[in-house]
């Protein structure tokens, strides 16, 4: 257990280092600077900016300084929003993104799991076909299309839900703003979760121990939920890791479509503004998040299935 944690910690640090190096290399190797946008500044001022941000130094010196700064937990000053440090921008954004992502993940599991289990229990009947059609639709309609479609339907068509922005307070009226973005973010995962749950349950229900449980006279519900479920949903648990990674990319689109000032929006805008420090900050925070979630999932997997021993 301890060895497992240590090894994953080391692996995670290695990945973070690789990501930092790669994103540093990309931002420095390509033309364009954060100061050459919109109105053109006099060359002296640009030189001053470059000196201030250390961009006039040799690349290797810049690299060493950046890495040293990152090790101390300092994400550096933003090069585009010049009065802000990346730490000031990234953490409030991350909070919003994580709240939205958690709602979406919870929703995907809370709806996808029962749907998949129901589809397996009623295999080849209308419940099954209905659930699987929904799942296929979820996979084939990408989130950047689903978002606008939902806005069309629920805001412009039915006038039920607000189209965008982050809730200003905790009142129910404001929280309605989260419904469409969370739905958009959750849909594809709901689709995969229900598919995996269905396939997992179908496989488990053919096992010998299920036959035994039926033979000793347990009710069908008891067989299904108490004996089948625990093994049947293990594929879903292993999907939760990749789900977080895909949700990160999804949140980029959702935050743009619904004008939510989360980390995803900062990432896309900083890439467009060539804000080198802010890009690196966003990518590193995202990578750390995904590594951490994968670690949790692996731990949970070991708890759920004793055959997968965590060593």
């Amino acid at each position: 257990m301890l060895a497992f944690t240590l090894r994953r910690l080391l692996g995670g640090a290695l990945t973070l280092f690789a990501v930092a190096t790669l994103s540093f290399a990309i931002t420095r190797a390509t033309p364009g600077s954060p100061f050459s946008t919109e109105r053109s500044l006099p060359p002296e001022i640009i030189r001053n900016f470059e000196a201030y941000y250390g961009l006039d130094k040799p690349v290797l010196v810049q690299y060493a300084r950046t890495m040293g700064r990152l090790l101390r937990g300092d994400l550096g000053p933003s090069m585009y929003y010049r009065d802000f440090s990346c730490n000031d921008i990234v953490w409030p954004g991350l909070r919003k993104s994580v709240v939205l992502g958690s709602i979406a993940a919870a929703g995907a599991l809370a709806i996808g799991l029962p749907l998949g289990i129901l589809a397996a229990a009623r295999q080849n009947r209308w419940q099954d076909y209905g659930a699987m059609s929904l799942s296929i639709a979820g996979i084939c309609i990408p989130n950047f299309l689903l978002g606008p479609l939902l806005v069309l339907l629920f805001t412009f068509g039915l006038g039920l839900l607000p189209p965008a922005r982050w809730p200003e307070d905790g009142s129910l009226h404001e929280l309605r703003k989260l419904v469409l973005p969370a739905w958009t973010l959750a849909m594809v995962h709901l689709a995969y979760v229900s598919r995996l749950a269905r396939a997992g349950m179908l496989e488990v229900m053919n096992k010998d121990y299920i036959r035994t449980a039926r033979a000793k006279g347990l009710s069908e519900w008891s067989v299904y939920l108490r004996h089948g479920l625990k093994n049947g949903i293990t594929p879903v648990v292993s999907y939760v890791g990749p789900m977080v990674a895909v949700m990160v990319t999804g949140s980029l689109v959702v935050e743009l479509v619904f004008a939510i000032p989360g980390l995803g929006q900062h990432f896309v805008k900083s890439a467009q503004n060539r804000d080198m420090n802010l890009i690196m900050a966003c990518v590193l925070v995202y990578t750390a998040l995904v590594i951490f979630m994968n670690f949790l999932v692996d731990l949970a997997y070991g708890l759920l299935d004793p055959r997968v021993r965590v060593t």
Binding site: L14, S23, P142, F144, L149, V253
Partner: protein
């Protein structure tokens, strides 16, 4: 000395019908109505993207200033965009780019994956181990985020950069599949025979191994075409894909989404490009699933 295997007695007197695994697989595929219908529909969409100049007399750059953001009508079958350009023509011309990127990006990643995976497996030992550890490390990277940074920092964004960048980041899974396949073929008699005859490593990989591992490679490639198209649309949606006046489905959907912010309801700008993309993704996924089910008997899900 083993005796020659006797022909099954039941077949005696009946002309033996030989069915190769390939032919059986093709038959399974053809019986899969969903996959077959998808193939037909996809062919139609593909043909329409090629033949669109014959279908409509309008030009994709031509602007009708009296009919901007116009509803679909007899002249503009799918309406017009904010600049008064015909959506029907732009949709199918954009489809060309979407298809091209999907196919070419897959080609790039298949070529890379084939080369990397087969060399790694053939070399074996420490080289193999090292090469595969590298793949593991690359797997841990947030691919899409890195693609976004690369695209944002590239000065010129053409169709070529889009598919090359997507392809460059898409070969990892394929390299693993190829390596596994090559490892299983590597010790078979015909490879040993080739080696005994003094054939060098290159020709052995190219002439003897790759033809024998093509099945799974083709199946995986079919499934990676929709993934590449999705990546392209995603990038274009963020404004990091192909640039004006070229267009693609992602660009069109993003233009439609931007027009939604205004008070009037311009549904056609989202609905038509969206339907084209969703249908195409559905067809490609169905065909890929169908191919996997009919060729890959081991992975077949019992249904």
């Amino acid at each position: 000395m083993t005796p020659a295997i006797a022909a099954p007695a039941a077949d005696a007197g009946v002309a033996p019908v030989s069915r190769s695994p390939t032919r059986l697989a093709v038959r399974r595929f053809v019986r899969n109505r969903r996959a077959l219908a998808s193939a037909g529909l996809l062919a139609l969409i593909g043909l329409a993207t090629l033949a669109v100049p014959l279908l409509s007399p309008l030009d994709y750059r031509e602007q009708d200033f009296d009919y901007t953001l116009g509803r679909p009508n007899g002249r503009y079958w799918m309406g017009t965009d904010a600049l008064g350009r015909d959506l029907f023509v732009r949709l199918f011309l954009g489809g060309r780019i979407s298809f091209a990127v999907g196919l070419l990006a897959t080609t790039v990643s298949v070529a890379l994956g084939l080369a990397y995976g087969s060399v790694s497996a053939f070399a074996g030992g420490r080289t193999d181990n090292l090469m595969m550890r590298l793949v593991d490390v690359l797997y841990g990277l947030p691919t899409m985020l890195i693609i976004i940074i690369v695209m944002a920092f590239l000065r010129s964004r053409s169709v070529v950069t889009v598919f090359v960048v997507i392809g460059l980041f898409g070969w990892l899974t394929l390299a693993r599949i190829v390596r596994g396949q090559v490892l299983s073929v590597k010790e078979l008699a015909f490879v040993e025979a080739a080696r005994a005859l003094g054939v060098r490593a290159g020709p052995i990989i190219w002439r003897h191994m790759i033809p024998n591992i093509l099945g799974p490679v083709i199946i995986y490639s079919t499934l990676s075409v929709p993934a590449a198209m999705l990546s392209e649309s995603f990038l274009s949606f963020l404004g990091l894909g192909v640039s004006e006046p070229e267009t693609s489905w992602g660009v069109l959907i993003s233009e439609g989404a931007n027009a939604l912010g205004t008070e009037r309801n311009y549904w056609w700008l989202v609905a038509f490009p969206g339907a084209a993309l969703a249908l195409t993704l559905y067809c490609l996924n169905s065909i890929g699933d169908g191919l996997r089910d009919s060729f890959d008997v081991q992975q077949r899900q019992d249904r």
